[in-house]
Amino acid sequence: MTELLIHNMAPMMFGALVVFLLIGYPVAFALAANGIFFGLIGIQLGLLEPSLFQALPQRIWGVMSNDTLLAVPFFTFMGLILERSGMAEDLLDTIGQLFGPLRGGLALAVIFVGALLAATTGVVAASVISMGLISLPIMLRYGYDRRFASGVIAASGTLAQIIPPSLVLIVMADQLGRSVGDMYQGAFIPGLTLAGLYAVFAVGVALFKPSWAPALPADARTLKEPDGSGGTPSLVVLVIVATTASIAFAKYYYAPDAPTDVVLVVSTSVGVGVAFTASVINHFAKLALLSRLAVRVTFVLIPPLALIFLVLGTIFLGVATPTEGGAMGATGALAMALARRRLSIRLLKQAMDATAKLTAFVVFILIGARVFSLTFYGVDGHIWVEGLLTNLPGGQLGFLIVTNILIFVLAFFLDFFELAFIVIPLLGPVAEKLGIDLIWFGVLLGVNMQTSFMHPPFGFALFYLRSVAPGRDYLDKLTGKLTPRVTTGQIYWGAVPFVVIQVLMVALIIVFPNLVTGGLAKKQAIDTNNIRIEVPAEELEPAGEPGRRGADQPGTEQQNSEQEEAAKALERAMRGDAKPALDRKK
């Protein structure tokens, strides 16, 4: 009996974990309790050292001093402030008016704005709510297919989770032990490609099912010239000038082998700067060369692009760490909300409150996962998982297919924080052993996890869309027509084609790994992630570089208590704890 127990500790522990989680008590505590419970059994059976739990404080210390995770509250806070700054509304209004007169134009506007918001920081809930309240009524008014309209809104909102800077990628980088900057660079092109695929789908609908995505009548546009014309030609000219400027800049300023994302971000900024300067000159010199539409489009694009430059630009250029990029973005969002008189003490408090709660629950899931893994790795759980996953038929490809199906299915029940902290640490080491690039792997799973926002019936994006989509038949304010409600079934069915596109994207990344690694291969990212002035060797972190300590650091050694030493030694001994992510990171 005991023998059986000893040999099957890992699978039993894992099975118990599933049960513990399904009970419905907060995940963080269930995870930790599972670790402690089985740790005690393991100690009883002589499988684990009695001093096992002495390592716990050190594990928590590792979570505390983790600079990467600090980016989570920063980006969350930035998103919460930004969603109330009015930026999204302006963008949706203006871009909607711009593209509206085209067939499928409103859908394209939603995708474009979704991608743009996603690149500033992106909170799925906020994007979906804004679009659901601003774009959806217009789409319904002019006869868009309800399923298509709600699907495109929910999907565009979830772009926030894959286009950097996204929380998923931060957590993924942390758990896989890679730098967030690399992860961002890797995800940049796939994220944009995914948005592009949505756009292709929208264009396809406009071409083959014109009745699903009709063009808006000309009088739906309120931004007009005094003489009643639309003012599009002048915008086209401005776009051509700006685009030429950015392409010329990219050509002459950068060497041909410069990384794509840096070139893209900086040259876009240059192009927008040109357009902005032209608009400002036009305005003050009263030249009347540019139409109101052209000026308006330029002005609404400035704030998001400025923020993107402030955050992604500084990260990609190596000026700021991703954490600091988040802080700068949050400061920028605060400044913008203040400038637009949208920032009140109440809003500030609310944003800080929501951020603090999110931070606490996210970090506590991680703490729970660390307690769990202490025991799980102690009973060789990682070897068990590795055995399961490396013996799959088909080697690398087999592993990738199985893990992706696994994540896809789990995403129906778990949200991405749970997936990232519980499942990813188990998969990462196996992937590495199979020779899979972990940045690529992380981006792949990130795209896959997006589906967790779109799965009926628990997908968050669908949930938020449901909360703002008309639940009752209503009289349209403008036309006075009775408009039927959007049913939940329509929202669910609308999500299906976009989930299929997301799965297609996963397949594309597997078939064309260059989508991710292309931007990375050109240069080794300046890893500012680890900035810290190092005079003596790092010692704050546990288990950093075992063996080196003491020898060159006699002075600091004495400051450490014996107990802590024991804990560290234990952690070192358990370096099977093949999860380098937290402890090894500086």
């Binding site: 930790a32 806070f77 409150d353």
Partner: protein
């Protein structure tokens, strides 16, 4: 039971106070971190103390915020099964979960982390980064934060038992006020001149 409920109210008030205090640290951390980047870039210097303050603040937020988050029932859970159960069954899950999951793990960590703080305090441990901060305040945050969490666990336990005895209304249904998403939706509706 009434006196226990009194204690529970006291704990709730404490964690509420703590929560409302520590969320300002988010703003502080944002400003410190942005400042660090700007200073490093413009003046080309940087200070380890200021880099460490960032994560001291971060740690304070999640450690001291854990009890507050529990009070507001914001720790995520997987409720696909429990969501379909009756109120009573859900309350039993809360009670058993608190007794067998939350309290053992929180008390264990509280117990284990206290001596680590004591050592840091006695030895006046200083961060090994040049010009770094003293370590014991951060070490103290761990047991302090988990103490708040344990207290909140007891408070939740008292409230659930009181609910089962019919002494108080369901504590998990307390009014939280509009969520930040609801406020956003309300504001957008207001701007569009629609009824909220």
């Amino acid at each position: 039971m009434q006196s226990l409920l009194g204690i529970s109210r006291l704990i709730d008030a404490l964690n509420e106070r703590v929560g409302r205090l520590i969320y300002w640290l988010i703003l502080a951390a944002v400003l410190v971190s942005a400042g660090n980047a700007l200073v490093r870039y413009s003046l080309n210097t940087s200070s380890n103390a200021w880099l460490e303050i960032q994560w001291y603040l971060f740690s304070a937020v999640f450690l001291f915020g854990a009890g507050y988050t529990l009070l507001h029932n914001q720790h995520v859970r997987i409720d696909i099964i429990s969501g379909r159960m009756s109120k009573r069954s859900q309350t039993w899950i809360e009670i058993l979960g608190t007794v067998f999951f939350l309290l053992p793990m929180a008390i264990a960590i509280l117990w284990l982390s206290w001596p680590v703080f004591l050592d840091a305090y006695r030895l006046n441990e200083v961060s090994t980064n040049a010009g770094g901060l003293i370590v014991w305040p951060a070490r103290l945050m761990v047991p302090a934060g988990f103490l708040l969490l344990v207290l909140q666990g007891f408070s939740e336990l008292i409230k659930r038992i009181a609910f089962l005895r019919g002494l108080i209304p369901d504590p998990s249904e307390k009014h939280e006020g509009p969520s930040i998403e609801e406020e956003l939706a309300a504001e957008l509706r207001r701007q569009r001149g629609e009824p909220a």
